[in-house]
């Protein structure tokens, strides 16, 4: 019984260790104005958006990313746009997507360039005007822009 409790506790501890750095991540001062400009007055909140990217990237020239948004994608309730910004590339814009309910799922995946280890933010704009974000920190070992 004691053993069982010990394992249950250790699992809980591990989960909190994994989750905490993500929650504690404060968005860079570079990204916040970009997110607010994209939101254009709509309220910006954290959540509903899931940024899928490797936390440690070997080659910054082509980094797979996937963004999924929690939305039923119906005529009444859908994502109208997704924007992606980076902190330290020469240009902060990565891509802006326009979606329609025809897509069925609020998901986009692409491959991007990362010049340095930096933060990335994904912003999803809903048809009711609200905006949701997810910020991630990515470590890059071989940067983009070095390749000839």
């Amino acid at each position: 019984m004691k053993r069982r409790i010990f394992f249950a506790n250790s699992v809980g501890l591990m989960a909190s260790v994994v989750v905490r750095p993500v929650a504690a991540l404060t968005q860079s001062d570079v990204l916040t104005p970009l997110v607010n400009a994209y939101a254009a007055g709509g309220g910006v909140r954290e959540g509903r958006v899931k940024f899928d990217i490797a936390p440690l990237v070997d080659n910054g020239n082509s980094v797979p990313v996937e963004i999924t948004v929690d939305s039923p994608m119906t005529q009444a309730q859908h994502v109208v746009g997704i924007a992606l910004f980076n902190e330290k590339n020469p240009q902060n814009q990565v891509a802006e997507f326009t979606l329609s309910p025809l897509a069925g799922r609020a998901r986009v995946a692409t491959r991007i360039r990362l010049a340095l280890s930096q933060q990335l933010v994904a912003v999803a704009k809903m048809n009711d005007g609200s905006c949701w974000t997810h910020t991630v920190e990515v470590l890059v070992t071989i940067a983009s822009c070095i390749e000839e």
Binding site: N89, P90, Q91, Q93, F97, L99, A103, A109, R111, C145
Partner: protein
């Protein structure tokens, strides 16, 4: 002429959510890199991408946007995009890429929904 690689299932059941993948051959030159002689390489990017769905029997310009994208220098060479489509009726998917130096590429893929 650019080459494009598009993956769409040929047939689908009504209501099914399909995965679409589209890749086009393009250097996506950022304008920040230098050649071996030290000259700045001119920027050459794909700026716009769109995928429209045209119901069968309708003309091409009546298509509905599934997804459209504005791309910047941070998109890797040979831009790859993956997204979804809810299959409702049979029709055609029209892909369009546009970029610097008059770059334009179009592709069409037929989809049969049963």
């Amino acid at each position: 002429m650019a080459r494009a690689l598009i993956t769409v299932p040929r047939t689908a059941k009504r209501g099914e959510i399909l995965e679409i993948r589209a890749l086009v051959q393009h250097p996506m030159e950022t304008g920040y890199r230098r050649s071996s002689e030290g000259d700045l390489l001119p920027r050459d990017l794909i700026r716009r991408f769109s995928c429209r769905f045209v119901e069968s029997g309708k003309t091409d310009d009546t298509g509905v946007i599934v997804i459209a994208a504005t791309l910047h220098a941070a998109i890797a060479a040979n831009p790859y995009l993956s997204f979804n489509l809810r299959a409702a009726t049979s029709g055609t998917l029209a892909f369009n890429w546009e970029g610097d130096n008059g770059f334009s590429h179009r592709e069409q893929v037929a989809l049969i929904v049963t």
